[in-house]
């Protein structure tokens, strides 16, 4: 049986950030229990960035590292997102074009809120498994950006931006998926949604309870499918979809109490050993929606000493809702390959926005939302931030929209 999974991976964490504590204070939010939310900052897109630029900027280093022959083996570009830029034309068309991929390539977008990244990964793995032709690759990108900033809500400090790009193929170097080792749990619920391009609506309590319920139920199905599996001993490490760290920590605690009746100190020991490292990047980037689980995966690999191949348990949740618990085994060189992408340095190099800069950028960002017929993205109103973040860096940015067609340029 051919091994299939993630052969290369990279995170684009944006070029600007905003402090979560500052936002709590500026908005007058209740800070009494701030620490258990485990939020440091969030990534913020500039007005000339959108989910397309995030996707391309995450994927370009991976594509550039391929030889011409390898690049032409990419037979599918699949983009998971909940912030698409058009009802019909998928984001993948822009991504395919600006990355210069072969025209002999499938191209489509998948959507299921924050589950979209995992839907794309599993779809790509299925396409590769289904072909009799050896060496096929798929480019999978989970990309998102916050809709209009919801001022004075508890969502706002967590609303991040960015993307994770992955190349899937045979004999992967990062993570081999355990074939068939998946449990799912899905049902209709209105916990969070994007009913308009400029609106994120929802109920955080309902979403949290649904996440907890889905973790328990999807793992229960996994345990039925994978005979002899045990949550405590089967997985060397864990990574969960991460809207914010406190939610992940709470979900882990709830599951361990439910499965094993563990004491708080035992839960904490397990959390520190298997899960805490996966939260470090997300605490700085914020919620990257469909990409959040894969940011957690990179954080785990970059911060955990992996002593040889390690089995990871991965949990994906998307509001609405769909969820999946699945597993895979890291490759011997996973740490070296992910480390070489310089993700920690990219996060560190973001420009920390002042409150005034953040307010201006949030306001101007409304123009990048879908539905605008003609827009020119002039960085002049935030020239200083643009120069610090993007100018001369060779990153893709939005130039203008003409008759709804998005046109990009390299910064």
């Amino acid at each position: 049986m051919v091994a299939i999974g993630i052969d290369a991976i990279n995170v684009y964490p944006g070029r600007a950030s905003m402090s979560a504590r500052t936002l709590f204070e500026v908005r007058g939010l209740d800070t009494r229990r701030f620490d258990n939310l485990m939020m440091d900052s969030k990534s913020v897109n500039l007005p000339c960035e959108d989910p397309v630029t995030n996707a391309v900027n995450a994927a370009k280093p991976l594509i550039d590292a391929l030889g011409d022959d390898e690049r032409d083996r990419i037979e599918a570009v699949i983009v998971g997102t909940e912030s698409g830029v058009d009802f019909g034309k998928p984001l993948s068309t822009y991504v395919h074009d600006y990355l210069g991929l072969s025209r002999r390539c499938r191209s489509f977008e998948v959507k299921h809120a924050c589950y979209g990244g995992t839907a794309a990964v599993q779809t790509a793995a299925g396409l590769i498994a289904n072909t009799p032709i050896a060496g096929m690759k798929a480019l999978v990108i989970a990309t998102d950006a916050a809709a209009k900033i919801d001022k004075n809500t508890y969502w706002e400090p967590s609303q991040g931006a960015g993307a994770v790009a992955m190349i899937l193929g045979e004999d992967p170097r990062i993570l081999t998926l355990d074939k068939g080792a998946s449990g799912y749990h899905s049902y209709e619920v209105m916990d969070t949604a994007r009913p308009r391009a400029d609106l994120e609506a929802g109920d955080s309590d309902l979403s949290l309870m649904s996440y907890l319920h889905c973790l328990k139920e999807s793992y229960a199905m996994y345990a039925e499918r994978v005979r002899g599996s045990d949550f405590l001993t089967t997985f060397d490490h864990l990574a969960f979809h991460m809207p914010f760290g406190g939610m992940v920590k709470g979900a882990h605690r709830t599951l361990l109490r439910s499965l094993y009746g563990m004491r708080p100190d035992e839960v904490e020991t397990d959390f520190q050993r298997r899960l805490a490292h996966s939260l470090r990047y997300g605490a700085q980037i914020g919620n990257v929606y469909s990409a959040a689980l894969y940011v957690a995966l990179c954080s785990l690999i970059d911060h955990t000493p992996l002593n040889g191949p390690s089995r990871l348990g991965l949990f994906s949740y998307g509001s609405g809702c769909a969820s999946e618990f699945y597993s895979g085994v890291t490759g011997a060189e996973a740490s070296r390959i992910v480390g070489a992408m310089g993700i920690a340095a990219a996060i560190e190099s973001r420009h920390p926005l002042s409150t005034e800069e953040y307010e201006l950028i949030s306001e101007l960002s409304l123009h990048r939302m879908p539905g605008h017929r003609h827009v020119r993205f002039d960085p002049h109103p935030y020239d200083d931030v643009y120069r610090k973040c993007l100018d001369g860096r060779g990153l893709l940015v939005l130039d203008h929209v003409t008759d709804f067609h998005r046109v990009y340029r390299w910064s």
Binding site: D30, R32, N36, Y154, D205, L206, M209, L212, H213, R257
Partner: protein
């Protein structure tokens, strides 16, 4: 004006109110169980969304019931919560 007594109005010594009060105190030790009264919300008591979910899980565990997530909503008052729990007793 005092609220008329109904089947969903908890009495001062309502055992469900006590279960909720103990769960709140266990999750957020700064909150005294006696401050957990029917006319307040968990958010007013300083419990954030993570705390509220943990309190609900603890209460369901203590009562041995499972409430489907679709029944929960933000800003649920403790009076409404007791009424919800009573449906599952």
């Amino acid at each position: 004006m005092s609220q008329p007594a109904t089947s969903s109005t908890p009495a001062a010594s309502d055992p469900l109110l006590e279960v909720i009060g103990e769960a709140v105190h266990a999750v957020v030790p700064e909150v005294d169980p006696t401050d957990v009264t029917a006319d307040r919300t968990l958010a007013e008591l300083g419990c954030n969304s993570v705390d509220r979910a943990e309190i609900m899980v603890a209460v369901m565990g203590e009562l041995g019931i499972t409430i489907h997530p679709s029944e929960f909503s933000r800003d649920l008052s403790i009076r409404s919560l007791i009424a919800l729990l009573r449906k599952y007793e």
